[in-house]
Amino acid sequence: VTRSRQPVEQVIGVFACGDALVEAVRLLQQGGHQIVETWAPYDIDALDRVRRRPRSRLPRAGLVGGIVGGVSGATVLWWTNARSYPLNVGARPLVAIPAWIPITFESVVLLSATSLFIGLCLRLGLPRLWAPIDDVEGFERASVDEFWVAVAASDSADTAHVEAALTQLHARRVVRA
């Protein structure tokens, strides 16, 4: 029977460079520790490979937005110009598909891009002006030049264990949170 470990406490390790963080996360996981989250001042894609995180599925939001944009854009063009108010200009066809391509394309891009951005904000819970991690001293530097990792600890013995592991990995600082 496997039981998900309820983290009682988190231990935070602070590293001086991205490579050190990736290496620390890899070794901590090998040691059976559970990584809660990492924070870095730039995108480190190796972290996702080490943590075996899947690729984001947000492009689906873009796909749905694009399809909705294309269908609704083309429908508006057809309904306004061919159905609701058909205007005969020199016997030109009312259903003028070539002339509708530009606006349909722009609607695809507009709705796809806005859905992606809104999807990103929703998935990340942005705007979120405060989070518990903000109260840990020195977290400001995680957006400048420090690389943080939070490791779960189930009890006080485990906490000490994680702290020792982080210190051994040459963490610049180890903080309990």
């Binding site: 730039y42 972290l47 873009g62 003028a96 507009l110 979120r128």
Partner: protein
């Protein structure tokens, strides 16, 4: 003394290592400051003002006032205050529109297209280029709006359920413009803002006062750079770049269709979409040079925007400039080869010897010859030459649009319908004022927004350091 084979072997190995060192591309970010110092230095203008900034901001502000006056005159007295006439119904204003939107295109090209192609060097200049896009598109949108004559009825261009039951006619390319320009602005804004989030977070975390910390904190939306945030950020950023790339091509294609779907000789041409898109990127890269060279000097960014960046930009200038020259050649050749006397007149005689011949020859000389200077590596490393070339090309690309629009309209099919054209002070003030407004926004951006993509520069440096180690 004769060297032993072993010594020779060692010497060879040393030479090889030296050769590798020499042949390796120079670092894109050779700046010696560490991440904390670099971030702090680049964010310094956000907290402290430099006295040199005020006069520049003031001049731009005065020109913006001129812009407001010209807009006021246009709105209260009508389009009659412009030099437009019949047949030259599109003139200076639409030239400004096409010019501004073209300038915007290089920003998207640099930020989105080069991102998709893994051109890491874009990291040092993409933020400035994207800001340039936004401000240029804001200016561009102004001109068709003013040209409506009654800009307060702009919403008539959108399909809204009016009590009259009438809808816009979507066979008109002008409605395509509305869709293209508004989409372009929105997507550019989202892309720019998303890229800004991590840097706004840096600004929040380094802000010296509580107020500033709060302002940048709200703007950063609570970005913390967690693994989950970066994982999704990366994907959405790439997707937006993937959308922005065809978008930028579609926008200038649609702008060119404003002309190409008409019957007018000089406009009615299938070459227009690629010709306009490449001309747009050409003029925009020239504007990037005009912006980046002084910024690099003023902020001491020589370790971030290196000679290699300027070299690569000037190569893009050479490439796009050569494609523009090729388009000119094709346009003139087809004008002659078509056998159509109106085409032949409009594209050859009318332009080269008509009333605007001097504009035509200025534009041809600059756009064709100036980029060719940058075959020479010495010229590519000469910042003064690059800056002057950028200014000249921006000016002559404006002239190109003027020639296409005004020279073609003023000399259409029948000599009986020919008409001269001269701009009024309102036309000239609108252009000068929009340039002022562009720089006003640019100076505000440099003062209050992180003007370099800091997180991308950090990432690039980590990559380069690992490569070197």
């Amino acid at each position: 003394m004769i060297a032993t084979p072993l010594e020779l072997l060692h010497a060879r190995a040393g030479e090889r290592a030296r050769a590798r060192e020499l042949l390796a591309p120079p670092r894109l970010v050779p700046d010696r400051r560490d991440d904390a110092a670099l971030t702090r230095d680049i964010l310094t203008p956000l907290w402290t003002s430099d006295w040199r900034w005020w006069p520049l901001f003031g001049i731009a502000g005065l020109l913006t006032l001129l812009f407001l006056v010209a807009i006021g005159v246009t709105v209260t007295r009508g389009i009659g205050s412009w030099g437009n006439n019949i047949p030259v119904a599109w003139a200076w204003g639409i030239t400004d529109f096409v010019w501004w939107i073209g300038i915007g295109h290089a920003g998207t090209f640099i930020s989105a297209f080069l991102l998709l192609l893994h051109q890491h060097w874009r990291a040092s200049i993409n933020r400035v280029a994207e800001a340039m896009t936004l401000f240029a598109v804001m200016n561009a949108g102004m001109f068709p709006l003013l040209h409506l004559g009654r800009p307060w009825f702009f919403y008539w261009l959108a399909p809204y359920p009016a009590t009259t039951g009438v809808w816009p006619n979507f066979l008109s390319s002008l409605t395509w413009d509305v869709a293209a320009v508004s989409t372009y602005f929105t997507v550019s804004l989202l892309f720019w803002y998303q890229g800004l989030l991590p840097d706004l977070a840096s600004a929040r975390d380094l802000a010296p006062t509580t107020l500033r910390r709060r302002i940048y904190g709200v703007l950063a939306l609570g970005w913390r750079g967690s693994g989950e945030q970066w994982r999704r950020y990366r994907m959405v950023y790439l997707m937006l770049a993937g959308l922005a790339t065809p978008l930028v091509i579609s926008v200038h294609t649609i702008v060119s269709l404003d002309f190409a779907i008409t019957q007018l000789p000089g406009w009615h041409s299938t070459i227009f979409p690629p010709y306009f898109v490449i001309g747009a990127i050409f003029s925009g890269i020239a504007m990037v040079l005009v912006l980046v060279i002084p910024i690099r000097r003023a902020f001491g960014l020589h370790g971030v925007i290196t000679p290699r960046h300027l070299d690569l930009l000037s190569r893009l200038l050479l490439l796009t400039g050569s494609l523009v020259a090729y388009s000119y050649l094709t346009e003139s050749f087809i004008g002659w080869y078509s056998g159509d006397r109106f085409e032949r007149y409009a594209l050859l005689t009318g332009r080269a010897a008509g009333p605007f011949a001097w504009v035509f020859w200025f534009m041809t000389a600059i756009n064709v010859l100036v980029p060719q200077l940058f075959w020479s590596p010495r010229m590519r490393h000469n910042t003064v030459a690059l800056f002057v070339a950028g200014l000249l090309i921006c000016a002559s690309m404006w002239c190109e649009r003027f020639v296409i629009i005004v020279a073609s309209l003023s000399r259409s099919f029948l000599p009986s319908s020919w008409h001269a054209y001269a701009p009024t002070w309102v036309d000239v003030s609108l252009l000068a004022g929009s340039i002022g407004f562009f720089f006003l926004l640019m100076f505000a951006f440099l003062r209050w927004v992180p003007s370099l993509a800091l997180s991308e520069i950090r990432q690039l440096r980590a990559l380069e350091q690992r490569g070197a180690a």
